[in-house]
Symmetry: C2
Subunit: 728 residues, 2 copies
């Protein structure tokens, strides 16, 4: 199961206060390839195959016994031969069944694996990324972006700034990574940002408990063809509910299945929680613990008051932040998808909880794309092309602002070059969501690892601002001023902290919060019960238990007041982008192979849109020639002056090889200098070439890379150039 930094870490931390058991991940269902119930695994076929295989295995065994018996009884050769022939036929049938089962279990995995290998080889060879500190044998989960990867990343971030910050007039901030403990205590990360870990009892090597159990089940299901269909169903159930298992339950399963340390086969410890934050110490005293932030959002929340003021004390407004976040994975896997340090881009859109409309919502309402609402997931359907406006008006998406951001995220991702058909918006299931969350959707992108959440878009209600208000004592609230004072009747719940403190000690805060969070009806019921019986049982979700509330512990009464303003904690709608994951999926979606002109090799191409291409244009003299070189340098210089990243290649390599090299970097255009008056411009994917005057070349490339002009337009404007044998 693929567990994701971004949403999972946060979902867990923020969801945890409602749940008694530690939730490892909110996504139990989606990523186990053909093993998941949501991906239409051919269950019937698999089950019947397992059954036939078991039958065939018995048949083989009994026929084997028969042959041995015949031999022992010195039966006639012809009779023995016939029996052997039957045995061989049965064996053949069995291995055919095995092959069918294998292929079902692999579920296209081999092809996917091979495709991924091609992409990753190209990415590593061309230094899109590099395992960090390679000369020192690297560190798991840390990667460098090499030159083309770094350029793609900076293009993606620049477009993010244009598409979100600039177009929405967001307030961008830039906060430090080093964060004092108190902030992450308030947010819940200090207590709950954990994974369950087991240790090799002899060597001390650490493993993620759920990973070991998952690997065991998958291995068993895929390799053990003798598995009964009952046992297979059991293992599948474990996989599906893996993320709901408590530490004790995980430990029990590990014991039951006799799972040992993968490398040494030593026994394993019981699972225990490991906090995933990198810890450090601020200042020289050693008395101020700090952490490297696990997300950028907290930096925005703690600044709410100043940002609200900066915005003229008006709602709604959005703040945004791009920056590094850290997660000290127990054992990082899956290359660029699960790393220990990554770039997040987060938006916190603050809004009046009573008005979640959005003025620009009509601009996205007509968009259609794959949506995967809760209902469809529960009933085993798949994602369907849906009109966003319909989903909002039917109440499937909770509110306009959430819908607006879903639409904007869709536009952002597809403009980067993410394939629409491999992008879906999946709604969180009720059990994945925190109690306070109004609604939550993940933009999931399909790649060779399965469907990967790359953006989480959550309506987190007032949770985060309240948490920091409570911890800091600074009210993070907004106010709506009335044009004239209003007389209001309010139900006032006043927990008597002294009494609660005496009764509940360390749990006092949770009880107070639960009391204050009561809805009107609940509070009135409590008032009635306290008045009649003097006490009542009260469920405190965050403690996962029921406590006895006595009459002296809380007062509840209706009061009439004249109010000049309504003071409230804003809701926050949070689109949160895992930039590295988006980039990795983009690499897979834009990668393809095509035969060389001679047909003797497969050439790699990244079909990056100009927007994200690491280099927009290459400039080649066709042959080594001083005059051509001068022209090439001139063009290269004007491209740079126009802010178009370019690369000049004056090596004597054949032009075909030079094209192939730049196709592999995803460079969309190549200018080839084959005369001093005009040059050719080649488009990467069509390999079409036009002939353009030297003076115009740079500006044509600028227009077409900056989107002021399409290649089709260029193609219909300029004379075509047909490539000669030397060209390709």
């Amino acid at each position: 199961m693929l567990l994701l930094h971004l949403v999972r870490g946060r979902g867990r931390v923020r969801a945890i206060s409602t749940k008694a058991s530690l939730k490892i991940s909110p996504f139990p269902h989606t990523f186990t390839l053909s093993l998941s119930s949501h991906t239409h695994s051919p269950m019937a076929t698999e089950e019947s195959l397992r059954k036939s295989l078991a039958d065939k295995q018995s048949a083989v065994e009994s026929q084997g016994n028969a042959v041995r018996a015949l031999k022992a009884s010195s039966a006639p050769k012809s009779q023995i031969d016939a029996a052997i022939e039957t045995l061989n036929a049965l064996k053949l049938e069995k291995s055919s069944l095995e092959r069918s089962l294998h292929s079902i279990l692999a579920g296209g995995g081999d092809t996917r694996e091979a495709f991924r290998q091609s992409v990753v080889n190209t990415l590593e060879r061309r230094l899109f990324y590099i395992p960090s500190f390679k000369i020192y044998r690297g560190v798991a989960g840390l990667f460098d972006y090499g030159p083309p990867g770094c350029a793609v990343k900076s293009n993606v971030l620049a477009f993010w700034r244009q598409h979100f910050v600039l177009e929405e007039n967001m307030l961008e901030v830039d906060c430090p990574c080093v964060t004092p403990e108190v902030v992450l205590k308030a947010s819940g990360h200090v207590d709950k940002f954990t994974d369950l870990m087991v240790k090799d009892e002899k060597t001390g090597t650490c493993y993620r408990a759920d990973h070991l159990l998952k690997d065991f089940c998958n291995e068993k299901l895929q390799r053990d063809l003798t598995l009964s269909s009952d046992k297979a169903a059991e293992l599948k159930h474990v996989l599906a509910t893996l993320d709901d298992l408590s530490g004790e339950e995980l430990g029990a399963k590990i014991k039951e299945y006799e799972i040992t340390a993968p490398d040494t086969k030593n026994p394993l410890s019981d699972p225990y929680p490991f906090n995933l934050m990198f810890q450090t110490s601020i200042g020289p005293s050693g008395l101020s613990p700090g952490f490297m932030r696990p997300e950028t959002a907290q930096g925005i929340f703690v600044n709410f008051k100043d940002l609200y003021y900066y915005n003229g004390n008006k709602l709604p407004f959005a703040a945004a932040q791009i920056g590094q976040a850290f997660r000290n994975e127990i054992s990082p896997r899956q290359g660029l998808l699960r790393v220990r340090e990554f770039t997040l881009a987060e938006i916190e859109h603050f809004v009046d909880p009573e008005d979640k409309s959005h003025p620009k919502y009509p601009e996205v309402a007509d968009l259609e794309f794959l949506m995967f609402p809760r209902e469809e997931q529960m009933t085993g359907q798949s994602a369907k092309k849906t009109c966003l406006g319909d989903a909002v008006s039917k109440g499937i998406v909770n509110n306009q602002t959430l819908g607006y951001f879903i639409g904007r995220v869709y536009l952002f991702l597809t403009r980067l070059g993410i394939d629409k058909e491999r992008l879906r918006f999946r709604q969180h299931l009720a059990n994945e969501m925190a109690h306070y969350a109004a609604d939550c959707w993940d933009a999931e992108i399909e790649c060779s690892y399965g469907w990967i959440e790359c953006v989480g878009i959550a309506d987190r209600s007032a949770y985060d601002l309240r948490a920091h208000t409570d911890k800091s004592g600074v009210p993070l609230v907004a106010a709506e001023k009335f044009s004239e004072p209003k007389e209001v009747e309010k139900l006032v719940i006043t927990p008597i902290k002294k009494e609660l403190g005496l009764a509940f000690k360390g749990n006092q805060r949770m009880v107070v919060e639960a009391l204050e969070a009561m809805h009107e009806k609940e509070a009135l019921d409590m008032k009635a019960a306290l008045e009649s019986k003097g006490e009542l049982e009260f469920k405190v979700c965050t403690l996962d238990k029921t406590v006895t509330i006595k009459k002296n512990m809380v007062t509840i009464q209706k009061e009439k007041k004249k109010e000049h303003q309504r003071v409230f904690t804003p809701s926050v709608i949070e689109p949160s982008f895992g930039i590295g994951r988006i980039i990795y999926c983009l690499f897979e979606h834009t990668f393809y192979m095509r035969p060389s002109k001679a047909g003797d090799e497969q050439l790699n191409v990244f079909r990056f849109p100009s927007l994200v291409a690491p280099i927009k244009c290459t400039v080649f003299p066709l042959v080594q020639n001083q005059k051509y070189e001068e022209v090439a340098k001139l063009i290269s210089k004007s491209l740079t002056a126009a802010g178009i990243s370019q690369k000049i290649d004056i090596t004597g390599t054949s032009i075909g090889k030079r094209y192939a090299r730049t196709d592999e970097l995803g460079v969309p255009f190549a200018i080839t200098v084959d005369s001093t008056s005009s040059v050719t411009i080649r488009e990467r994917d069509s390999k079409d070439q036009v002939r353009v005057d030297v003076e115009k070349a740079a500006s044509v490339v600028k227009e077409v890379t900056e989107g002021q002009r399409t290649w089709e337009d260029v193609w219909s404007t300029f004379p075509h150039h047909s490539s000669t044998a030397a060209d390709e």
Copy 2:
């Protein structure tokens, strides 16, 4: 004394291996305002004043005694009154002398302080920056950039990418902040990236030892007017040599001056080194120590091999990186200048040590700006306007490539808006530089804190690549292929490690390095001495002592070889930019105040060039009016579509107030909608306004902010609009 992250940390770490004593900072002289010998402090006047004051003090005392004696002897009243009059006159003269001395000692400090306060107030009020985690009472040395600050920063970085990475075709990389110990062990940071610290012996509060001594000396010099001029000279000497003091020497001075803990007056511990890196642990085992990188450069060095390959195995080439760096200051001071987390932008330009010419050098050779070579500093002169080409050709700047980068840095800083007159390039003194460095210059910017290094430009020779080659065993070298094999005679120095190990144990490596680093002449002398005498005394700088080398410890001989290529460790020239410091200095250089039209208040303005202005344009309807609002929204939308950051303000506030608000954010242009057909465009600094058609407004602003057109040109093209009383 101002000690700087950037260059100091690195200078120290990298310089340290040559020096026996721990050097705290390479910049003893420049930052102590009027106390520094380099800033022409009016020594003569100060000294004579101190002397006159001491004389006057004695006169006051003896006259006081005289008065008392007269009183005791019951002298006539008239006589006593006359003596008192004399005494008062003497006291008046004394306090006048005190005022003069005070004012000399402050050296304009009060004005500077007041100016800084105005800038900082504006910056904080308008959220250019915010003390991080303010609602939790903050953390010293951590700051957030609020919305306008963040926009300025992202503009500065975008321009840095255009000016350096794009224009020089540099290979930009992006490496993690989390760094394993081995890398920083190789670079020297684990052992040497330290400051000397003392602890309050009772409370455990930590202080920087040099800060306490510095504060004591400054305080004494500035406040104690009874100080003898001898004592004053002594304290000044301490200040000037502060950075050369060892831990023991610092401790001795602290004892001698009886310096105690500032807050409690408790006794202090002896000074001891504190490592300034934030330490953490990678992975769950607790066995892999890691640090938050103190600079970005190491990520480039460890990737040298891959980057050289990416560049077609050709030199020279430059790699660049922008990213966060960390420094766990003992007690951060001076706001944005000395922080615990900061953004660095670093370039490592790799070059053949035998050819440090630069093809683009002629483009900068004619630049003239303030340079402050070593020689001028030693002879007490000040920085002079110098032609860069002259400095290079005279050998003052070591080589063309270094000179080229000095020129490019000058262009970068001045285009951002740094005042040429408050920018100088200061060469490191011989004792500030590491033994391996060929030359080093700092771009220093003058602000209210004095001259601040903001960029260090160093020719670090082969040091860093060699350090990682040694530690990792992976040769980080380049090769020049010969067209045909060359017969070369080489002097081969082969230290016999076994013998050296026996003789020098833990010091073996330093001895080996020193032997290998010998010049030809030195080696031949050693060979001769060993052959004649069997041993000789040999100075090992890194050990700061002389060792005895015996004949069996090293072989030195000339060998003839046929070589097909020359393999060598490239030199690296490193321009390293402290982005936060540059931005802070930019704030000070662009800030000014001017009276409001009514003359009743001072208004603040940042005269940011459009390039760095956080918002390029504001759009106002002159009065609240639906038609004007619609026009304003239309213009605002076209500006955004054109990628021009803008802010629309439809509040009913007076237009003058709205202008003042945006001037304070440094917004260069304001469009005011006062009709539906045409609008006015106002330039911030001149307050001049032109009238432009509605349809053209956005494109005129785009052209003038992107530098395709000057304001002068706009001013001469469009009709002028004279502001009415309502406007300003």
